[in-house]
């Protein structure tokens, strides 16, 4: 419970500062730049239609992301994190990557669901190989996507051909992710109790 209390003590000024930090302003800058370019190079009507589309997208997206954050918050509090990371440690081999890819394949929905799930997974102490394998499994083998997009556009035969070829790919990506020699920053998720007996 010690971790949780730490999170609770976060101060609003620090939070606001992090929220409107450098990467926020990069996004604002790119948005403003491309918006201006669109207004000048294309035309004001296109600009207006993009803004209108964004409003529709955001009204659909924001409630879902909010729900994902609430879900992630409860997972973070309720999950026995020491036992969870022990479980993850035990599944460091290829078996863990295969599980992760399979979980990705059956994750329903588009990126608005899959990426919040990935965030929750990262919070459980899953290693980078698991994370990459999960999201690649969703991207390449996602059953819902194959039904909604692949089969109608490409036909059943080609879709199955692509699916069979793609089965090993998330696992390859996960193995590569484990080999790549650079450090991820300390999780923005739960601080692992590393080194504290």
């Amino acid at each position: 419970m010690k971790d949780a209390r730490q999170a609770d003590q976060s101060h609003w000024p620090d939070l606001i500062k992090e929220s409107f930090g450098k990467s926020f302003w990069i996004f604002v800058g790119v948005a403003a730049g491309t918006a201006t370019l669109c207004y000048i190079v294309l035309d004001p009507d296109t600009f207006a239609s993009v803004i209108a589309r964004d409003r529709v997208l955001l009204t659909g997206l924001l409630p879902r992301v909010a729900a994902a954050q609430i879900l992630a918050g409860f997972v973070w509090v309720l999950l026995p994190r020491d036992r969870m990371s022990a479980f993850m440690q035990r599944n460091r081999g290829k078996r863990g990557l295969i599980f992760a890819a399979a979980a990705g394949a059956i994750t329903p929905g588009g990126p608005a669901s899959a990426f919040p799930f990935l965030l929750i997974l990262a919070g459980t102490g899953a290693d980078r190989g698991i994370l990459v394998s999960y999201i690649s499994g969703w991207a390449l083998l996602g059953i819902q996507r194959i039904i909604v997009w692949d089969i109608p556009f490409m036909g059943l035969e080609f879709s199955m051909f692509r699916l069979l070829i793609s089965i090993p790919l998330p696992i390859i990506a996960g193995m590569l992710a484990r080999r790549l020699a650079f450090m991820l920053p300390p999780e923005s998720g739960p601080p692992a109790n590393d080194g504290n007996p």
């Binding site: 929220s19 924001l62 918050g73 409860f74 309720l78 692509r162 790919l169 990506a173 650079f182």
Partner: protein, 164 residues
Amino acid sequence: MNSAGAIILYSGAVVLGGVALARRDDSFRLGLARAVQQAVIILPRMIFALIAASFIVTLIPTEIIVAYLGPEAGIKGILIGSLTGLIVPSGGAVAFAIAATFAFEGASAPALVSFLTGWSVFAAHRVFIFELPLLGARFVLLRMLSVIPLPFIAGAIAMLVSSS
């Protein structure tokens, strides 16, 4: 769209919220506090990332990208397919419309597999809207490096399978 995923998110939040409440300790409040904390950090970025991504997609002329992926076969087809897949920054509707057009124009199966694999794992707009704000730049870099070989591998397997 994506309704099943949304239902899982909403019902998951309600169920786990109930479990946290039933514990009759600080769990419920701590979980919500954590959610607010994360949302305050992520949501502002996400909003502007989405706006930026939609303007980028509007500005990039997809037709020009598409013109490069003709009926090339063999290794050249796989290379062009992979690279095209990596740079098409749009959702399923556009990507699959492109793939179907390629198929109609006689693109080889390995080139199509490479294209769809490259698009699936990269899809730049998705990275920009979701992955970057939610997981941070270093994770994105790590994942990008891990998945770069996949479209080429997929194309190569497709070529071996279809030639045998």
